[in-house]
């Protein structure tokens, strides 16, 4: 029997390190190397590197590119930056989703404003073709060229409070690169012939697109570069980071880190239901009073006239014990009524409760002798809006645990820290 599972440029490296591998989105990816817990903690205390070449990039270029994205993407590119809702500017990127006419999520994405009339859209594993086709189908009379770069671009992430210190050691001009680089901004280009490529080069001359984003809730970067340059960068960062106890991290740590950071997993926490009433309202083009939308986009009408109303909300448990999420899971209210299902239930191993409050290993105010035993957390989808602090039970066919509805889980995350504090 032959299988058509895809591999990333680092596949051989993962296997040579004895990583526990699994199929994720059609790619043979590492779940963990030796310890998920150590990998998770490395990103909170120091740094970790992640192979993310399974993710897909789609470019959209031309005089109609911005308008096409305005119509297909949920966030308003003319009003998405900061509390003042300024237009997306060159070198900035923004989170949102692509919806169908029913308002259901096709995939979530980050849109990068590369230069005038040129955007890069980064989506999840295996979704490059789907999103490229979706954009193509909705092109209309707009002048735009959509190009699916799936499996043609290398990508890896470095995440954790010392990420810039480690990365700086392999950049040609770290000072210039890190100057003026807020959260959700990026510099550089993957194409060596682009004038933008000079903004970020490795010390061997390789151009990279460096983005101050990530999927862990911690300070760090996503890096796009030529596939044949990935392994060298990966190994150099590991070598450079050994003094900081850097760790290669698999998808399991990525999942537990993002759950604690209240970030959704596409096709699990967002999916075939309306993309609204969830913890990510910043991904929708809400007016300042939150009563309407600032632009037209595919799925808008369905979101405005929902028939099947559900609410996605974050929860945190009392301790690390969890249940099996997904099919067969239930959310039960105080009256014993089943009111929904559990979308994600994971253990954030870097946090724990002390007298009811949640602390992280990185919390400056953690109680003396605090030991993070881990905390169960995730998302429920329920048929009524629950209030923060409210307790519900979540259950699978084996176990029932009581959890609290929360608006945040892991405290003292570093993703938004000023760059000056991190270099």
């Amino acid at each position: 029997m032959t299988t058509d599972i895809k591999t990333t440029p680092l596949n051989r490296w993962h296997r040579s390190q004895g990583a526990n591998m699994a199929d994720f989105g059609g790619y043979d990816m590492p779940l963990w190397y030796s310890s998920v817990k150590d990998e998770h903690l490395a990103v909170l205390n120091g740094a970790g590197v992640f192979d993310t070449s399974h993710m897909a990039a789609v470019t959209v270029a031309g005089s109609g590119a911005a308008d096409l994205l305005q119509y297909c993407f949920t966030n308003d590119l003319d009003a998405c930056m900061g509390p003042a809702k300024k237009p997306l500017s060159q070198g900035r990127c923004v989170y949102g989703a692509f919806l169908d006419e029913n308002g259901h999520t096709i995939d979530d994405a980050i849109v990068f404003f590369v230069e005038a009339d040129s955007y890069m859209v980064v989506v999840n594993a295996g979704m490059g073709g789907v999103i490229a086709e979706h954009l193509q189908r909705n092109l209309g009379r707009r002048d735009a060229t959509v190009n699916d770069l799936s499996d043609r671009l290398g990508k890896m992430d470095i995440q954790g409070p010392v990420a810039a210190k480690i990365l700086g050691g392999v950049l040609a001009d770290p000072k210039a690169v890190f100057a003026g680089m807020p959260y959700f901004s990026f510099k550089g280009h993957v194409d060596p012939t682009s004038p933008l490529a000079d903004a970020v080069r490795l010390d061997d001359g390789t151009p990279i697109l460096l983005s101050r984003t990530g999927y862990t809730g911690e300070f760090g970067f996503e890096m796009f570069l030529a596939q044949d340059k990935i392994q060298r960068l990966w190994e150099r960062l590991l070598e450079n980071g050994s003094a900081y106890d850097i760790k290669p991290c698999g998808l399991a740590a990525r999942d537990s880190l993002r759950a604690g950071a209240v970030l959704p997993l596409s096709h699990q926490d967002i999916g075939h239901w309306p993309f609204i009433n969830h913890p990510w309202p910043f991904a929708l083009p809400f007016t300042t009073d939150q009563t309407g939308f600032t632009k037209d986009f595919i799925g808008r009408a369905a979101l405005e006239e929902q028939t099947d109303v559900s609410f996605t909300q974050a929860f945190a448990g009392k301790d690390l014990r969890k249940i099996s999420a997904g099919e067969g899971s239930r959310v039960i209210d105080a009256d014993g009524q089943t009111i929904g299902t559990v979308l994600t239930c994971a253990t954030d191993m870097g946090i724990g409760r002390h007298d009811g409050d949640i602390f992280s290993v990185a919390s400056p105010n953690k109680p003396e002798g605090f030991k993070a035993r881990g905390l169960c957390c995730g998302f429920v989808k329920v048929n009524r809006k629950l209030s923060v602090g409210q307790h519900v039970d979540i259950a699978d066919n084996r176990r029932k645990i009581t959890v609290a509805i929360v608006d945040d889980v892991r405290p003292h995350r570093t993703a938004r820290k000023p760059m000056a504090d991190m270099i």
Partner: protein
């Protein structure tokens, strides 16, 4: 992930198809999960065990082992009454990863039918299952 040749599979314990092990120590039978099982599960963060004095049949679920990613059932290799559980796992569940046959044992039982232990798999037979 360990290669099959790297697995620690002692000769002096018996194995089940569900990757538990059992070993006679004096007049009780001690049990836990195999090196293969702990390697597949990854970091174990919680082990839920029954009360001393409870009884289970062979193949019955007696507890759960929880990794960062998932909760997995534990099944009785043989039937009997629980005479002791490994209290050390409450504070150090990672012993199941680091030392699955000694420090990471889970519980001891008084076997209801000693013949059930003999019927479990030898190392060689267990290896055959792992090799598929």
């Amino acid at each position: 992930m360990k290669a099959i040749s790297e697995l620690n599979l002692p000769e002096d314990v018996r194995y089940t198809d569900d990757h538990e092990w059992a070993k006679k120590i004096g007049d009780v039978v001690r049990m836990g999960i195999s090196d293969y099982a702990q390697d597949q599960l990854g970091d174990i963060v919680f082990v839920e065990l029954p009360e001393v004095g409870s009884s289970f049949d062979k193949g019955e679920e007696f507890g759960t082992v929880e990794s960062v990613k998932a909760v997995s059932e534990l099944y009785m290799p043989i039937g009997g009454e629980v005479t002791a559980i490994n209290d050390a796992l409450a504070d150090a569940p990672e012993l199941v990863n680091s030392d699955p046959y000694d420090g990471g044992w889970m519980m001891e039982i008084k076997a209801s039918d000693p013949a059930e232990l003999e019927a479990l798999k030898s190392k060689a037979d267990y290896l055959d299952i792992l090799k598929g």
